[in-house]
């Protein structure tokens, strides 16, 4: 249904050549398509979110030997499909999934920038600890040793309910399950997550 409409609104027959987020087009086209996403939503999204790449450029294959991986957007619960292109272990660009039965090639401005979850310079890079009011880099071993020693100390001194665990709606089912199981094995029902609020 909507698929037909999208094709009608867009240019039928050229669907397979649409890509988003070619880093060579990079920022300008991203902003353009994000503005489109902010201004309009819904059925008209897909064609505006895409860029028809000249046949020649497509032939050049800017990322030889790259792999395309089907994955799912991490923002909202609609569960849009994303095609991630990976070359030598680096996520180089993303494509819309025109054949995903729910999103049908649609993306909002957040989903169109999913790759930034991995490429953003703002990512936390190492474990850290606040010392004298300043953040200090520490090793994983130091972090996990200190945290677990303190937790065991508090458990012994004040009991298992002295810990509260706020888990997550942003992890997989398997991890969410482990979070709940962790509280059970730790010995407390003080565990909750975003669905409460």
């Amino acid at each position: 249904m909507a698929q037909k409409k999208i094709i009608k609104n867009g240019k039928a027959g050229k669907r397979s050549r649409r890509i988003t987020l070619n880093p060579k087009l990079a920022r300008r086209s991203f902003l353009k398509l994000s503005v489109a996403a902010a201004a309009v939503t819904g059925a008209a999204l897909a064609p505006r979110l895409t860029k028809t790449v000249a046949a020649e450029a497509a032939k050049k294959e800017p990322y030889p030997g790259s792999k395309k991986i089907k994955t799912i957007c991490t923002y909202c619960s609609v569960g849009c499909g994303i095609i991630a292109e990976v070359q030598n272990g680096v996520w180089v660009r993303q494509e819309i999934a025109t054949d995903h039965p729910v999103s049908r090639g649609g993306h909002c401005c957040k989903g169109a920038g999913a790759i930034e979850m991995v490429t953003s310079e703002k990512r936390l890079k190492t474990p850290m600890k606040r010392v004298g009011g300043k953040w200090q880099k520490i090793s994983w071993d130091q972090a996990m040793d200190e945290i677990s020693a303190k937790l065991l100390d508090i458990r012994k001194k004040d009991g298992p309910d002295a810990l509260h665990f706020n888990g997550s709606a942003k992890v997989s089912n398997e991890m969410a399950y482990l979070q709940r199981k962790f509280a059970a094995f730790w010995g407390s029902n003080n565990i909750d997550h975003q669905a409460r609020i």
Binding site: G42, I72, G79, W91, L163, H164, G167, A176, I191
Partner: protein
């Protein structure tokens, strides 16, 4: 669509909504205090006073029933407590509804007629419906509306809650919740014994891990009020205050009265934050009690997730964790190993994540996760192109005949999934279901009437051995029922007989365990209408609600509105998500939407001497205040202020950027709206009431 702004919060879902509007000619009725971007796409917009959804919807129900527009056959055969409900609804005449909600009486009748003459119709809601002290009544009223219209169990019908985060449905199903074990089993003895069997650990050992058996069966603190376990501004019911906090993939600035959570930081002995980006919580407190652990994003790991349509998808790993980040599973393993229970915790888990999925399938029988094995989920995701976009059923290919993502309940390893709940037009084995028999077979109501709770004679799925209502299946394996029989023989037996494992009953309009057995209007805890408080007062205080004293009546002050004359509501922007640590760390999204603002009606702004773009102070009754830019607009009415809630990095006028690790503060910073959201919680769930508090506004 009531209390939803899908155009910004779920933009891609809008293509389906707009298809209904443009191709099927469906009216899109948007009920919201604010003229949202969704309202701009509506055919009919109803402006409602915040926190009065129940009154409005009970008003619609009253019209539909009293004008004889309801689905009599559906009500006769599949609904319970109808006369009791109608009696309550009869109070909500169009005139009464107008007084409470501000919606003109004629509109109430018109919208009721619109719903009655356009069937099937669906009801969509989001946090605008739930974040109220009567949130649990609002959602029930929405469901009852669909029952009287006969819109349940049909394509194009149902109640479609558009959920927030990408896996909030799955995390809810896994019950990362203080009142239940995975699969909504609860925390009673039987529930613990069931899960101990799945985990393959001794029940006595788990019991020994708790302070006492009492605490094993006692609901814990919630995300809404955990900080009271530290601050104890309200009395707590636990033998110890909270001393340590683990915050794993959860934004602190989405808590109402956020400054109280910030205050708790210095009183904690240990704070552990696990997140891919530096979250708002790094700004809080100044003691050396806090650790930041870099987990990878979900693109750097794999696992299943459950969308808002109950569909499972496999999120395949794109790349390995970047920098020194570790994925969630690895961090958990490191922690559990050091805490000394790794052998028991991972007893049947060798391959991660697939063995965890299998353990979930083994135990989560209540909602039919058992058929959604990891191989099947992966097969669906890899072959998503083979599914029909109308029916969501695969046309040929390796998933032929199955529904995309095996929407739960997926009862067996060959079940196709259940795309529409409670649909009696299909056999159970093909994705059909009746209503669940969950609340016994018979009830005597407060008015003395006794009713059989099972579905009427002649109402069952095609092929059912029993042509009418039946209770849940049990004792196929002696001593067990369909949800505790780990061999799953009971479930298979039911499906073989063409029947639902959980029985075939009526949906109930009366919940005899709730304080309001039928939804009624109650004024918000902080009400802008003192004249209505006497008539529609809030609840009595709850001395032990999830381990903390929660004020209702003692907090409802008719004088409050004199000092805080505006209603504050919060919501989303399309460019940002939740607490915003992820999206505000994306330079493109930050450029598109760099600032927080308060939407203020033109008339209000002119009366207060506020110009568009000017800075204003917003103050809450609890003493929180924020300095934000005024956006003068008639999207809100003159009594209402709207704030997007995604921001952090500024706190009561002061920049907090220096408190982040060097260079890691997000690109876009601003005041968190939740500094000024008010006290107030739902009577059942303790969800925070961020959509009907009070505030004051003045030029800065």
């Amino acid at each position: 669509m009531i209390g939803s702004n899908a155009a910004e919060a779920h933009p891609v879902a809008m293509q389906h909504v707009l298809y209904a509007k443009e191709v099927n000619n469906a009216p899109i009725i948007v009920v919201d205090p604010r003229f949202t971007r969704l309202a701009a796409k509506a055919t009919d917009y109803v402006r409602i006073r915040p926190g009065t959804d129940t009154a409005f919807v009970m008003g619609l129900i009253n019209q539909i029933v009293s004008r004889d527009w309801y689905d009599k056959e559906f009500v006769r055969t599949r609904v319970a407590g109808f006369p009791e409900m109608c009696k309550v609804a009869s109070h909500y005449t169009p005139e009464v509804v107008e007084d409470i909600t501000g919606v003109p009486a004629s509109e109430v009748v018109r919208i009721a007629k619109l719903m009655a003459t356009h069937r099937p119709g669906t009801v969509v809601w989001c946090m605008g419906g739930t974040q109220h002290s009567i949130g649990s009544s609002n959602t029930r009223a929405f469901c009852i509306l669909q029952l009287v219209l006969g819109n349940m169990g049909k394509a194009g019908g149902g109640t479609n809650i558009f959920r927030g985060h990408d896996n909030v449905q799955g995390a809810t199903d896994m019950c990362v919740l203080s009142h239940s074990l995975p699969g909504y089993y609860g925390i009673k003895d039987g529930s613990w014994k069931h899960w101990c069997q799945v985990w393959d650990v001794d029940y006595e050992w788990i019991k020994s891990r708790f302070h006492s058996k009492e605490y094993m069966n006692k609901k814990g603190f919630t995300l809404a009020r955990w900080y009271e376990g530290v601050n104890q501004d309200d009395k707590i019911n636990q033998y110890t205050p909270i001393k340590a906090l683990i915050q794993w993939g959860c934004a602190g600035n989405s808590n109402s009265q956020m400054f109280k959570a910030a205050k708790a930081m210095n009183k904690l002995e240990l704070v552990v934050i696990v997140d891919p980006f530096a979250p708002a919580m790094c700004e809080w407190g100044d003691k050396d009690n806090i650790y930041l652990l870099p987990c990878s994003s979900q693109y750097e790991t794999s696992g299943s997730l459950t969308s808002t349509s109950r569909q499972f998808q496999w999120r395949f790993k794109v790349v390995d964790p970047v920098y020194e980040s570790k994925d969630d599973y690895e961090i958990m393993a490191e922690l559990v190993k050091r805490l000394g229970f790794a052998d028991k915790f991972y007893k049947n888990i060798k391959k991660i994540p697939e063995d965890i999925t299998r353990e979930i399938c083994k135990g989560t029988l209540t909602i039919g996760y058992n058929g959604a094995l990891p191989e099947r989920i992966k097969k669906h995701t890899l072959n998503w192109h083979t599914f029909d976009i109308d029916t969501l059923q695969a046309k040929g290919g390796p998933c032929d005949g199955e529904y995309y993502g095996l929407p739960w309940p997926c009862w067996t390893e060959t079940h196709p999934g259940t795309p529409i709940l409670y649909d009696i037009s299909k056999p159970v084995a093909k994705g059909g279901l009746p209503f669940r028999a969950r609340f016994g077979t018979k009830i005597t109501y407060y008015d003395g009437r006794t009713e059989n709770l099972l579905a009427a004679e002649g109402v069952a799925n095609p092929g059912s051995q029993v042509k009418g209502g039946y209770p849940e299946f049990k004792d196929i394996v002696p001593g067990t029922n369909w949800k505790t029989d780990l061999s799953q023989k009971t479930i298979k037996e039911a499906i073989k007989r063409g029947m639902a494992p959980f029985g075939n009953a009526r949906a109930r309009c009366v919940v005899w365990t709730f304080p309001d057995q039928v939804p009624v209007h109650r004024e918000p805890v902080h009400s802008p209408r003192p004249d209505l408080i006497a008539k529609y007062p809030t609840y009595e205080d709850k001395p032990d609600q999830y381990r903390v004293y929660t004020r209702f009546k003692s907090e409802q002050d008719p004088e409050l509105v004199k000092k805080f004359p505006f209603v504050i509501i919060t919501g989303r922007m399309v460019e940002h998500m939740g607490g915003g640590a992820e999206t505000r760390s994306n330079k493109y999204l930050s450029e598109l939407q760099p600032k927080v603002y308060a939407e203020i009606n033109e008339r209000t702004a002119n009366n207060l001497g506020i110009r568009n773009g000017q800075m204003v102070w917003i103050e809450s009754p609890e003493g929180g205040r924020i300095k934000v830019m005024a956006k003068v607009t008639d999207r809100v009415d003159e009594h209402t202020i709207f704030l997007p809630y995604h921001f952090a990095g500024q706190f009561e006028g002061k920049s907090m950027v220096d408190k982040y690790p060097e260079g890691l503060a997000p690109y876009a910073v601003g005041e968190p709206a939740n500094i000024v959201t008010n006290y107030g919680y739902d009577i059942i769930t303790q969800i925070q009431a961020t959509k009907d508090g009070l505030c004051n506004v003045k030029p800065a």
